[in-house]
């Protein structure tokens, strides 16, 4: 065990996996709790909410180079509060963690950064918008126009994002329920980014363009105690419709939720049980069996598709490990998207 593992403790005050992935099932004592009918206020809510235990700025993008080759990138900044407060200096209880990855058809590169708040090394400001950790940043005058960079030892990227649509609020106007017990988070997205820029790979730089999807979510106890992980899909169909769907796996059964997003930005929340997410095939990745081919069906909308990982190698070997990578869609609809699987 190392200092890195020590930090894992910092992020997981309750260490047992049975308590949910990354401690997300821990108790929320002393922290604020998401309530229904919250009125979002922007740009304020693009910034951090230190009295909530956990929060993230999560961007994924499906990209192609000039030859039509598929790529995926991930840029995530997590905030985890040891205490529901913020102070200046080293004793700030806010811990920040950055994850970045580039996935090519046959390789996956990732990097991780860790910092605490209070010393200027990492943080988020709402106006002008900037989320940063070390030299990585996601910034722009507002959330509609962003510049995104990250670097690892052998890869990096520099991308420009332009929003083509409005923000999407999941669940009940941004109040997203995560279990039958009522655990919930605030959750909104910007799924309409046009992305353009450069990927730096060990052997070459590649000009790419494509579509990006930003998730914003904060909570203090998003998982129920029996829930140990989730499978999360963000799918963009060639016809312009988009689907966000997740399945939270628990001892007492799975909990699913989804949002159907039309090209004009109209979003329809879909309750537990509307969407069926079924693993079709698992692949042995880093000594774990990870589902890399799925059947996603949403009978209400006539969706019955197979979702396959572009490469099974998209394992994030970070402090808490998970699978996150680009997928391709075939069946009733064609398209591309991103898949995240935790707790395997």
């Amino acid at each position: 065990m190392s200092i890195r593992a020590f930090i894992l403790f910092a992020l997981i005050p309750i260490t047992s996996w049975a308590q949910g992935f990354a401690g997300l099932g821990g108790s929320a004592e002393g922290f604020s709790r998401p309530m229904p009918r919250y009125s979002f206020e922007f740009p304020r809510d693009h910034g951090p909410h230190p009295t909530y235990r956990i929060e993230w700025w999560y961007l994924t993008a499906n990209l192609k180079d000039s030859e039509g080759q598929d790529y995926g990138i991930q840029w995530t900044l997590f905030r985890s509060a040891l205490k529901p407060s913020e102070t200046d200096g080293w004793q700030s209880p806010q811990i920040w963690m950055g994850h970045a990855a580039v996935t090519t058809p046959d390789n996956h590169y990732f990097a991780e950064r860790l910092s605490r708040g209070g010393v200027g090394q990492a943080g988020v400001t709402a106006q002008p918008f900037e989320a940063w950790i070390d030299e990585w940043h996601m910034r722009g005058d507002d959330l509609d126009t962003l510049n995104l960079t990250a670097n690892g030892a052998d890869f990096g990227y520099d991308l420009d994002l332009q929003a083509q649509g409005s923000l999407i609020f999941h669940g009940d106007a941004g109040y997203s329920v995560k279990s039958a017990d009522g655990q919930a988070s605030y959750y909104y997205s910007q799924p309409f980014y046009a992305v353009e820029g450069t990927l730096h790979l060990p052997d070459r730089d590649i000009e790419v363009s494509g579509q990006g999807w930003l998730d914003r979510e904060w909570s203090s106890q998003p998982l129920a105690e029996d829930q140990s992980g989730w499978d999360w899909f963000s799918l963009s169909f060639d016809g312009g419709d988009k689907l966000m769907a997740f399945r939270l796996r628990g001892d007492r059964g799975d909990f699913t939720a989804a949002t159907w997003i039309e090209p004009n930005g109209h979003a329809t929340p879909l309750p537990d049980g509307s969407v069926a997410l079924t693993p079709l095939e698992t692949t042995r990745v880093e000594q774990r069996d990870v589902p890399t081919r799925w059947q996603v069906s949403l009978p209400d909308r006539g969706v019955d598709v197979e979702v396959s990982a572009i490469t099974s190698k998209a394992w994030m070997g970070t402090r808490f490990e998970y699978w996150e990578g680009p997928v391709s869609i075939s069946g009733s609809h064609e398209g591309r998207g991103y898949l995240e699987m935790t707790g395997y």
Partner: protein, 804 residues
């Protein structure tokens, strides 16, 4: 033939058990002291290595500022430029009257630390929130914990075996609070995994220097000379122990000549004989060596805590007082025992192999008897000269030790011829027959006693030499402390603003406030601490300059000159009139050199304005406060209360002095202990020599007794003889000891510690040592004298019956 031969040879030890005990003791003593020193050295070195590994020190490059501290904002800038660095804030805490190193690391970014691992794997792993947020936790070794538990001002404690003693590890957020250094960083550790496309350091932080692990201050290097010193002492004890071995083996061979002659006459080939004797010696060496190792292990265990205290005090070297048994140490110790025994017996073996088959059992023919005193004397003189030549040829520590070795062995070998000469001179002057007989008898006894006397000479010389060094040091050091620590209170403020408030508050209450501004620089000889001072008579009057140009202080305070400490002066060979490059852009003339005992690093003093020019923005955090001594205590408390200062932020001069002296006393405990032990070994050597000589005394004493001297008178003369020889040796040891002291003070110490001490003479100590020697000689002769007193006249008469 071989088994009976072995039996015959071994029967000697059965009839002479005391000789066997003496021989084994000699081997054991030689091995014991040598191994003890080796064990201590190995333990200390292992400690340094362990501590470095425990704290991940010396594995990574570091960034340091030319000004003493790195601001927190600079850390954030580096991070935001992509540089993966971890912040460390070092300092010291004073608790229970001892100084403890505090290392505050950014627990989120610092590389793996075994201490953390151990704590988090423990039964009650702490919540990371407790470690990272106020009040935080202090991590320390279990032995240090009791000192902190009684004080409510410190955060709760977590103990870990994986931490060096005298070091407290904590998060940097806790450290800046305890040290009153908010937003400051001592050094940045450059982490191994850096991202691609990193901008060069010179673009983003030109004020920071990147220092590779090899250029960082290395404890092992610093303490090398200290360990060499200890080794030399161990070697000296080894040599003294071997004197005993040499003497006893020689005696045993001489006494076994009859047996050997008979065995050879019966047809035992010389090869077999030598083989048997060699195996016998090997066995004895092994037994004695094992005994010695056992003793050495315990001795090292007993001495180690003091050595540890010394090393911590002098070099802040992390070392714990725990011994562990190392196989390579056992192997080395036994090899030394065997090698030493065979070496010490070589002469006897060689003579055995060359002995004509029918040579009679000569009684006087052992020991140095066959080598004329003139040859040993010449050899001794040669060694003396060689030592001096080596000193000039090699210089430095090696030269110093070569000179010591040459001096000591040369003088020892010269001893018999000098004593013989003195006795001959006295004999000519003596006008009573008894007096002449006693002196002649002593001369005749010299070859048999000379080895023991040589051992005594060495032990006495070492005692005088080391004693003079330690006492000189103590005298100089106490005086130096008085000069150096002139202010009644020393205060460390948290920041400039607090410093201003405190100064304003203090000014009406004190006679003077002396600001001390300092910054850490890097000189080619290692780290260099630069201090800025103001013009005050406290400096002009008291500062301990050992070498100065004209108007040294005027030059420093008004004309941009610099004072440097002795360590820097000697390392870089810079003296008043030379110039020193404080930084690549600042070369200053040297106005004087001051003594700076107990500090391993280089130091320099300039005026405040010069310091500001060299390191702009350096803040004044330390102050010396002059007030009447009886008010110091109250003012210290008032300062702490009013400005909410940590106890370590206000220190009284008296406490500082007491602590420095305590460190000093510890420094030489090990030396004194080894000293006393060597003297003990020498006393033992005299006793064994006299006891073995006793067996040959009767033929010499009997005729004198027959001429009318009573046994009581003879016994008194026996005592007198021993005391007189010891006295003569002691007289000769005095100049040798003083030369030794000079070499230690002027050569070895300069190399080992970087300072040279004035030599003081302590006749009272010599007198004490002289009396001790006389008592030892008296006691050593008491047993033979008592035997003589109780000898039945028939035994004396039998001497004549054996004569033809």
């Amino acid at each position: 033939m071989i088994p009976p031969a072995i039996q015959a040879l071994l029967s000697h030890w059965r009839t002479h058990p005391l000789q066997l005990v003496t021989l084994l003791t000699g081997i054991a003593l030689a091995t014991c002291l040598w191994s003890a020193v080796q064990a201590i050295n190995a333990e200390a070195r292992a400690s340094y290595k362990r501590a470095n590994a425990q704290l991940a020190i010396g594995q990574f490059d570091e960034l340091r500022a030319t000004g003493s501290m790195i601001p927190l904002s600079r850390y954030a800038e580096l991070r935001r430029a992509g540089w993966q660095v971890a912040a460390v804030l070092d300092g010291s805490l004073r608790v229970d009257g001892r100084s403890v190193r505090l290392m505050g690391v950014d627990m989120v970014a610092y590389p793996a630390l075994p201490a953390i691992t151990q704590i988090e794997q423990g039964a009650d792993a702490p919540n990371p929130a407790d470690i990272l947020t106020a009040p935080g936790r202090l991590l320390m070794s279990p032995e240090l914990a009791p000192h902190f538990q009684s004080d409510d001002e410190f955060p709760p404690i977590l103990t870990s075996m994986a931490l060096p003693p005298d070091l407290v590890l904590t998060d940097i957020g806790v450290a800046e609070h305890l040290l009153n250094r908010f937003g400051q960083i001592s050094r940045l550790v450059v982490l191994p995994d850096q991202p691609r496309d990193l901008p060069p350091l010179s673009d983003i932080a030109p004020d920071l220097q990147r220092i590779s692990p090899s250029a960082q201050l290395d404890t092992a290097q610093l303490t090398d000379s200290f360990h060499l010193n200890l080794s030399a002492f161990g070697l000296l004890s080894f040599a003294v122990g071997l004197f005993i071995v040499h003497g006893t083996v020689g005696l045993a061979f001489a006494q076994r000549r009859g047996t050997i002659r008979t065995l050879r006459a019966l047809g035992l080939p010389m090869r077999h004989l030598i083989g048997i004797v060699l195996v016998e010696l090997l066995l004895l060496a092994l037994i004695g060596g094992l005994f010695g190792l056992g003793l050495g292990y315990f001795l090292a265990g007993a001495l180690l805590p003091d050595v540890a205290a010394t090393l911590r005090g002098l070099y802040a070297a992390p070392i714990d007082g725990q011994m562990s048994l190392r196989p390579e140490w056992v192997a080395a110790g036994l090899s030394m025992a065997i090698g030493g025994t065979l070496g010490a017996s070589g002469h006897a073996l060689w003579r055995l192999s060359n002995m004509p088959i029918l040579t009679g059992p000569g009684l006087q023919a052992w020991g140095g008897g066959k080598t004329p005193a003139r040859i040993t004397g010449a050899l001794g003189f040669g060694l003396l000269v060689a030592g001096i030549l080596a000193f000039y040829a090699f210089q430095g520590l090696i030269g110093g030790f070569a000179l010591l070795a040459g001096l000591l062995t040369g003088a020892a070998l010269l001893l018999p011829i000098v004593l013989s000469g003195v006795l001959a001179f006295l004999q000519k002057r003596s006008n009573t027959p008894v007096g002449q007989w006693v002196l002649a008898d002593m001369r005749a006894q010299l070859p048999g006693l000379s080895l023991a006397l040589m051992a005594l000479l060495l032990a006495l010389a070492a005692n005088i030499g080391v004693g003079t060094m330690v006492s000189s040091f103590r005298l100089t050091f106490t005086g130096w402390l008085d000069q150096r620590l002139t202010s009644e209170l020393y205060l460390t403020a948290a920041d400039d603003q607090q410093a201003e408030f405190i100064t304003a508050w203090l000014t009406p209450q004190t006679s003077a406030i002396l600001p001390i501004r300092s910054t850490e620089l890097t000189h080619e000889t290692g780290p260099l601490f630069l201090y800025g001072v103001i013009d005050h008579e406290s400096y002009r009057r008291n500062w301990p300059l050992i070498d100065e140009g004209p108007d040294a202080w005027d030059h420093v305070l008004n004309r941009g000159a610099v004072l440097i400490n002795e360590q820097l002066a000697r390392r870089a060979d810079l003296w008043p009139g030379d110039t020193v490059a404080i930084t690549p852009r600042h070369t200053l003339p040297i106005a004087g050199v001051y003594s700076d005992y107990g500090n391993p690093t280089g130091q320099a003093i300039v005026s405040m304005s010069v310091l500001d020019e060299i390191a702009p923005g350096t803040q004044t955090r330390r102050f010396g406060i002059r007030i009447t001594p009886d008010r110091a205590s109250d003012l210290a408390q008032a300062l702490r209360d009013r400005f909410d200062l940590a106890p370590s932020a206000v220190v009284q001069q008296t406490a500082m002095k007491a602590q420095s002296l305590a460190i000093f006393e510890k420094t030489f405990v090990i030396t004194s202990a080894l000293n006393v032990l060597t003297l003990g070994v020498a006393g033992f050597a005299i006793l064994t020599s006299l006891l073995t000589l006793w067996t040959q005394r009767l033929p010499q004493v009997a005729p004198v007794w027959a001429l009318g001297l009573t046994r009581a008178k003879l016994a008194r003369l026996e005592l007198l003889r021993s005391v007189l020889l010891a006295a003569m040796t002691a007289f000769l040891a005095l100049p040798l000891g003083l030369i030794l002291a000079w070499v230690l003070l002027a050569v070895i110490n300069v190399q080992a510690f970087g300072w040279r001490l004035p030599m003081n003479l302590f006749p009272a100590d010599w007198l004490g040592l002289f009396v001790l020697t006389q008592i030892a000689a008296f006691l050593a002769a008491a047993l033979p004298a008592w035997r003589l007193l109780r000898l039945p006249p028939a035994a004396l008469l039998r001497v004549f019956a054996n004569e033809h």
